[in-house]
Structure formats: structure tokens, C-alpha cells
């Protein structure tokens, strides 16, 4: 279970970072555009937008830290939601559990049989010495 949530967190993290980048870039672009409309040359407009904003990397990291604190929380929420959904659909849950139990049980039984009948060594003191005659 834990590795699944870890993989999920990794994907979520990527998504969060991408969205955050987009959010901050939107702000910078809007300030830049406003500056340009007020007659600043393009390079200066960007520079000025950054001046207003502060260090984007720094702010990005700050927000990332905050966003990541949320992840374990949402995973817990998802788990709780899943458990509630299963409880609500008791019929489905029962059938699913029975199907799983039956599947695992039959698998185990068949393999046990196969192992007992086919895939065992010969009843002999030194089976490696035996050879097949045709």
C-alpha cells in the first residue's frame, strides 16, 4: 500500500508543481503586460515585473512546501472516501470480496495439487542417477 501512495504522491507532486509554475507565471506575465502597456520596453517590463514579485524561485519553493503538506492529508481523505464507498455498496463489496477469496483459494488449491502430483521429485534415493529409456 505504502509504495502506491508514494508513487501517487510523486505524480501529484509533479502536477502541483506544474500548476504552481503556471499560476506564478500568470502573475508575472500580467504585470509585464501592464508595464508594456504603460510604455516600457519589453526587457525592462519583465525586469520590473520580477522586481515587484521578488525572487520567483524562492516563492515557488515556499508555496511548494505548503502544498506538499497537503498530500498525506488528501491520501488519508481518499482512503476514507474509498472505505465509505465500499460500506455504502455492501452488495458490491461482498461480491468483490467473495470473488477475490474464491480466486485466491482456487489458485492455491490448484497449485498445491499440481505441486503434489506433477512437480515433485521421484521417490528414489538418488533421482539424478535415473535416466529415461525409450
Amino acid at each position: 500500500m505504502s509504495w502506491i501512495s508514494r508513487v501517487r504522491a510523486l505524480f501529484e507532486r509533479e502536477k502541483l508543481e506544474k500548476r504552481l509554475g503556471e499560476e506564478l507565471e500568470f502573475h508575472l506575465a500580467m504585470r509585464e503586460q501592464l508595464n508594456a502597456e504603460q510604455g516600457m520596453p519589453p526587457a525592462e517590463a519583465r525586469q520590473n515585473a520580477l522586481l515587484y514579485f521578488g525572487n520567483p524561485t524562492l516563492w515557488r519553493e515556499r508555496v511548494s512546501e505548503i502544498d506538499l503538506m497537503l498530500l498525506p492529508q488528501t491520501i488519508l481523505q481518499d482512503l476514507r472516501y474509498g472505505a465509505r464507498a465500499l460500506c455504502r455498496n455492501a452488495g458490491f463489496t461482498t461480491v468483490a470480496i467473495l470473488a477475490l477469496a474464491l480466486g485466491i483459494g482456487v489458485n492455491t488449491a490448484v497449485f498445491t495439487c499440481y505441486k503434489a502430483v506433477v512437480s515433485r521429485s521421484l521417490d528414489a534415493r538418488d533421482p539424478a542417477e535415473w535416466s529415461i529409456l525409450r
Partner: protein, 117 residues
């Protein structure tokens, strides 16, 4: 997290004031971060100036606390932007933060008006 909701956040620095201003701005309706920046800038007569980037940690923290919620939408100039809106909890928070702020500023005003007889 439940206990933290109604206790007024620490208003002893600009961070608390920023949260209050953001909540107040969003009372008007959903806005993106840039819109909030312009709004605060506009209503405060350019007196309050912080690095604009500091708005975003504040916004994301407030979203985690459940005071505001966000969704992606399209801005006036047809760009994708993240819009924030006030939640019911946020409205309550705005009320309590505001009372707290007024109490403090009144206390400071009283202290400043005090003249020894």
C-alpha cells in the same frame, strides 16, 4: 486542524494583515492572485506594498485551512488562471479576524491618545 479555525491567527505582523486583506478582497467574488494584488493596491492607495510573490504562500496556506477554495478558470484576457473564492468558513474567519484587528487598533489608538494628567 479543527481547533485552529476560529482562533484568530497571529495578527502581530504583516502576514496576518495580508490574510485579512485577502479575505476582504475575496468578499467581492472570485479573483486570481493578480486580481487580488491589483485590488489591494487600489483600495490601499498604494500604501501597503509587499513583494507580490508573498501573496502566494499566504493564498495556498489559507486554502489548506479551508478559508478559501480555488479552481482554474479563464481570465479576462483568455489565459488560464487560478481563481480563489471565499468559503463559508472563510467568511466566518473574516469576521473574527476583523474584530480582532479592530480591537487591537483601537487599543493602540487609546494608548496613543493617553495623556498623563
Amino acid at each position: 486542524m479543527g481547533e485552529r479555525l476560529m482562533t484568530p491567527s497571529k495578527n502581530d505582523n504583516l502576514q496576518g494583515a495580508l490574510a485579512l486583506l485577502v479575505l476582504k478582497s475575496l468578499e467581492q467574488g472570485p479573483m486570481h492572485g493578480w486580481g487580488i494584488t491589483l485590488h489591494i493596491h487600489c483600495i490601499s492607495n498604494d500604501v501597503l506594498r509587499v513583494e507580490e510573490g508573498s501573496l502566494y504562500p499566504a493564498l495556498h496556506r489559507m486554502e489548506q485551512d479551508g478559508w478559501i477554495a480555488s479552481e482554474w478558470g479563464v481570465s479576462d484576457n483568455n489565459r488560464r488562471a487560478r481563481f480563489y473564492r471565499l468559503t463559508t468558513q472563510g467568511r466566518r474567519q473574516l469576521r473574527s479576524e476583523r474584530e480582532h484587528w479592530e480591537k487591537i487598533t483601537q487599543a493602540v489608538a487609546l494608548a496613543l491618545a493617553f495623556e498623563p494628567a
